[in-house]
């Protein structure tokens, strides 16, 4: 049904048709009912009139008693086929004359008249009528007639159907007309709309056919189309605009990206340049500093008077300060660049603190300050920490503390705060009795470059970077640095560090020699260098390679000071030539050189050597302080490396390690200045003189350092004995023995050697026996040193 009426045209057609049909049917039904009624009434009425007429005609027959005439009258009704029967009755009610249609039963003619009136039975209408003449009742007449309703109905129905047919035809025609007037414009508009949708052509317009609502609709449709057209045009143009803008934007983005890339490249280049610059600076500054400090060190070995030695010491200290400042700046640059890294390794906090104390004990004693240290024995003997960096922090703190304390003491304490999850939380405090810092200024301590004329600047001097770097380093180690200070009373700097516990077995062996500071001690027992040929024969000839003449000279002097003979080469190529002679057992080479650098040299030598036989030792001497240098050196096939400026002590370590001299039987036959009076003196004068080079000040300094280290070791020995720790007894006794031998305290050394042996055997009685001898010797040594100090 919905499908049939999908189009307006059909709907309209159906509406017209249905409306017409409905109206027709209703009208037809009404008229039908009315007509049937009217027909009946009319039939009845007609019959009555007929009866009246026939009666009138028959009245004379009745009055003059002429039934034949009457019969003749009623017989005329035969002409009317629908008359069933007729009868005339006298005034008395007797049948006077009658007629009946041939198909009508006789019984239908009533024998006697009824009351006047019309009666309808079924399809028959019957009437009785009085016949009067001049007001006199002369008889009655009866007429019966077929209504023929069925015929009537059929006829009527046929007519109505015909009418409906005609009306429907009319409706169809009307609907066709309507379609022209109403549907057609709508259908046209619908197809137009479809076209618009399909073809996106908004320029077409609907034709206005009429002035009615459809015309208005067409106008509105057209208006809508024109609006859409305008908007579409606007949209298209704005789209084009957007595309144009997009392209513009894209182009600009590309431009910017290119600019950014370019500036990024510039930044990278700049950063690279900065790094290179820093590296260069490090190298370039360290190279002359190498000359300065090396020569100063060598100069200190010569015989100087008091004033000269003081001057030399100041120059040396200043040089070292300058070097540290440079190191600080480099470190800070690395921090800023995020390149500074901590490299934890197995280390001992106690040893580390000991090293710091060893470095600064001279400074402290020269200012008559007590530099003491205490290490909590509960702290694990071996922890994971970057020893160099932690020492850097502590060096800085202690150096500051000494610098700003006029009298009193500086104390380093390491305490265990707690032990948790395989890690020791260690608090290291550096406490001084110095000038202190105002509370409001302590916060600024850790800011870099805080040296602008303030008290802080005075306190830290230099670059003002030390504490800032320390704070960063502590932070990188997972710890922190705090300062508590009271103006005029002193300052306590606290370093709190979590230190993972490590296996003590992995601790690097402490070298007794490494602990001794000062060039004099290092060269004390050295022989005079032999001739090159002797050294060659001995297999101890060294080749020093450096493009820098001063550096070459310094290194040559240092090497010879250590009892080695050496020759020089200016660059890698020359060095390679000389090495080919096969006379050299060890090469100390600079890394950065023209023509052929150190790495190339090493690689060339290694490739020239027979497979598997690394007969020549190659030690890199590099001013490059940046991380990764060691790896580069090892990768090139070098055996070891040493940093510029080369300290005599370090050089001695390396040489002793890689190229030990034959047994120095004739040690002690060197420069004997003057004999010490007491034959039973605790120190062998000859050894002492050789160590000090005959310099009384140097000798005192050496003795002071000896006592400082010795005090520590003695304390450690006492504690070890108290705790009955054989291992610690061995260690402490060994150290005291080593230090004693160095300065010629042979009796002490012998006593310690016995104790060490006893401890190794686990013989506590023997240890106890040795203890007395050791303590007696220590008392003598102490007295001797006191006397030496008093002489100054």
């Amino acid at each position: 049904m919905k499908r049939i009426f999908r189009s307006v045209r059909r709907k309209l057609f159906a509406a017209v048709l249905l409306t017409s049909l409905l109206a027709l049917v209703i009208c037809g039904a009404g008229l039908f009912v009315y007509d049937l009624q009217a027909y009946r009434d009319k039939s009845a009425n007609d019959l009555a009139v007929e009866a009246d007429l026939v009666g009138y005609e028959t009245a004379a027959a009745l009055q003059f008693d002429d039934p034949a005439s009457a019969a003749q009258n009623v017989a005329f009704l035969k002409a009317r086929s629908n008359v069933r029967a007729a009868a005339v009755y006298t005034a008395h009610g007797s049948l006077f004359a009658s007629y009946r249609r041939s198909d009508v039963d006789r019984a239908e003619v009533p024998a006697a008249p009824s009351r006047a009136g019309v009666a309808i039975h079924g399809d028959t209408v019957a009437v009785f009528h009085d016949i009067t003449v001049d007001g006199e009742h002369v008889g009655s007449i009866y007429l019966a007639e077929d209504l023929r309703m069925f015929n009537r109905v059929w006829t009527y129905a046929a007519i109505v159907l015909l009418m409906i047919l005609v009306a429907l035809l009319g409706a169809a025609a009307f609907s066709a007309w309507l379609q022209h007037g109403i549907t057609r414009p709508i259908v046209d508009m619908a197809s137009l709309a479809r076209d618009v949708v399909e073809k996106r052509d908004y320029s077409v317009r609907a034709r206005r056919r009429t002035d009615d609502e459809i015309g208005t609709l067409a106008d509105a449709f057209n208006e809508m189309l024109s609006q859409i057209e305008r908007r579409t045009e606007a949209l298209v143009s704005s789209n084009a605009e957007i595309q144009r803008l997009n392209k513009d934007l894209e182009r600009r983005v590309m431009e910017r990206t290119a600019q950014l890339e370019e500036s990024n490249l510039q930044l990278k280049t700049a950063s690279q340049a900065k790094s290179t610059f820093l590296s260069m600076m490090s190298h370039e500054i360290r190279t002359p500093m190498n000359g300065v400090l090396g020569m100063l060190e060598l100069l200190s070995l010569s015989k100087l008077d008091m004033q000269q030695r003081t001057t030399l010491n100041i120059v040396r200290d200043s040089g070292r300060s300058l070097l540290r400042i440079i190191d600080d700046i480099l470190d800070f640059s690395k921090i800023e660049a995020g390149k500074l890294e901590v490299a934890p390794e197995v280390a001992s906090i106690q040893e580390l603190i000991g090293r710091v104390v060893a470095i600064y004990s001279g400074n402290a004693s020269s200012k008559a300050l007590t530099l003491s240290s205490h290490c909590d024995p509960r702290i694990s003997p071996a922890v994971m920490v970057d020893p160099l960096r932690l020492q850097q922090i502590l060096n800085n703190l202690v150096s500051n503390a000494i610098k700003f304390t006029r009298e009193g003491s500086v104390e380093i304490r390491a305490e265990l705060v707690e032990r948790r999850e395989g890690s020791d939380l260690v608090r290291i405090t550096v406490t001084d009795t110095g000038i202190g810092i105002a509370r409001e200024k302590s916060a600024a301590l850790f800011e870099p470059f805080q040296q602008g004329g303030s008290e802080v600047a005075r306190i830290f001097g230099g670059t003002g970077l030390g504490l800032s770097i320390g704070k960063r380093l502590a932070g990188m180690m997972g710890g922190e640095i705090t300062v508590t200070s009271e103006l005029g009373r002193g300052t306590t700097v606290t370093v709190l560090l979590p230190l993972p516990i490590a296996d003590p077995a992995l601790l690097p062996r402490a070298d007794a020699h490494a602990r001794s500071e000062g060039a004099a001690a290092t060269v004390a027992a050295r022989r005079a260098p032999p001739s090159a040929d002797d050294a060659c024969a001995e297999g101890t000839l060294v080749l020093v390679v450096d493009d820098h003449a001063v550096n070459r000279l310094v290194l040559r002097r240092q090497v010879t000071a250590l009892g080695y003979a050496c020759e020089e080469a200016e660059d890698g190529r020359e060095a390679l030539e000389k090495w080919r002679s096969g006379r050299f057992s060890l090469l100390i080479t600079d890394c950065n050189m023209p023509v052929m650098d150190g790495y190339e040299l090493a690689r060339a030598i290694r490739s020239a050597e027979p497979e598997g036989a690394r007969s020549t030792i190659i030690i890199a001497c590099t001013a490059n302080a940046l991380k990764g240098e060691a790896e580069n050196c090892f990768a090139a096939g070098m055996n070891d490396y040493i940093a510029k400026p080369v300290q005599l002590r370090r050089l001695a370590e390396k040489l002793d390690k890689w190229l030990p001299l034959p047994a120095q039987a004739d040690a002690g036959t060197g420069t004997v200045q003057d004999a010490c009076a007491a034959g039973d003196a605790p120190f062998d004068r000859a050894v002492l003189d050789q160590a000090s080079g005959g310099d009384a000040d140097l000798e005192r300094e050496m003795l002071a350092q000896f006592r400082r280290f010795n005090d520590d070791d003695v304390q450690r020995l006492a504690r070890a004995l108290e705790l009955r720790s054989l291992e610690d007894v061995v260690s402490a006794a060994h150290r005291i023995k080593g230090a004693g031998r160095t300065l010629g305290a042979e009796a002490l050394a012998a006593a310690c050697e016995r104790m060490e042996a006893a401890a190794r055997d686990g013989d506590w009685d023997a240890i106890a026996a040795c203890r007395e001898a050791v303590e007696a010797q220590l008392v003598q040594v102490g007295r001797y040193i006191d006397a030496a100090m008093a002489k100054a």
Partner: protein, 180 residues
Amino acid sequence: MDFRRALTLVVACAAWPVHAEPSGVALQQRIKAAFLTKFPAYVEWPSSAFRQPQAPFVIGVAGAEPVARELEQAAAARTVNGRPLRVHRLAAGEPADDCCHVIFVGSDSGPERAAELVAQARGKPILTVTDTQDPPAGSVINFRVQDDRVRFDISRGAAERNQLQLRSQLLAVAREASDR
């Protein structure tokens, strides 16, 4: 006797005896009297026939005394054409042209009298009724007895001459209707 009952009686006498009593002079007289009262209903008189609107309808009877009596009896109870009915006995030789609307000449009056009266009425609005085997010319209606039933003949020519119009019904029931 009231009108209705009398009418019933008259009509009964007029109709019923036709078969019940095939012959009977008295009955025939009564029927003739009844016919005489019924004829005016089928005849139209010119208006000049009546001097006044309410002038009585006069039936003149010559001879035929029984008929006259019957008429007089009926006259008391009925009207003719809306007018009171009066019966006027025509004496011998009495002219009938002045007063009567209907003149009945009984068979006992003789043909001469009948002819005289008919002639007198000729051209005048008078319905002349005779009762003879050989009615005189100008007689409008003439009774006849046929098969013992009272019937009548009509002369339309006479009626026209007397300015009378006869209705078709009357002509239809007449035994014979001539243009004479």
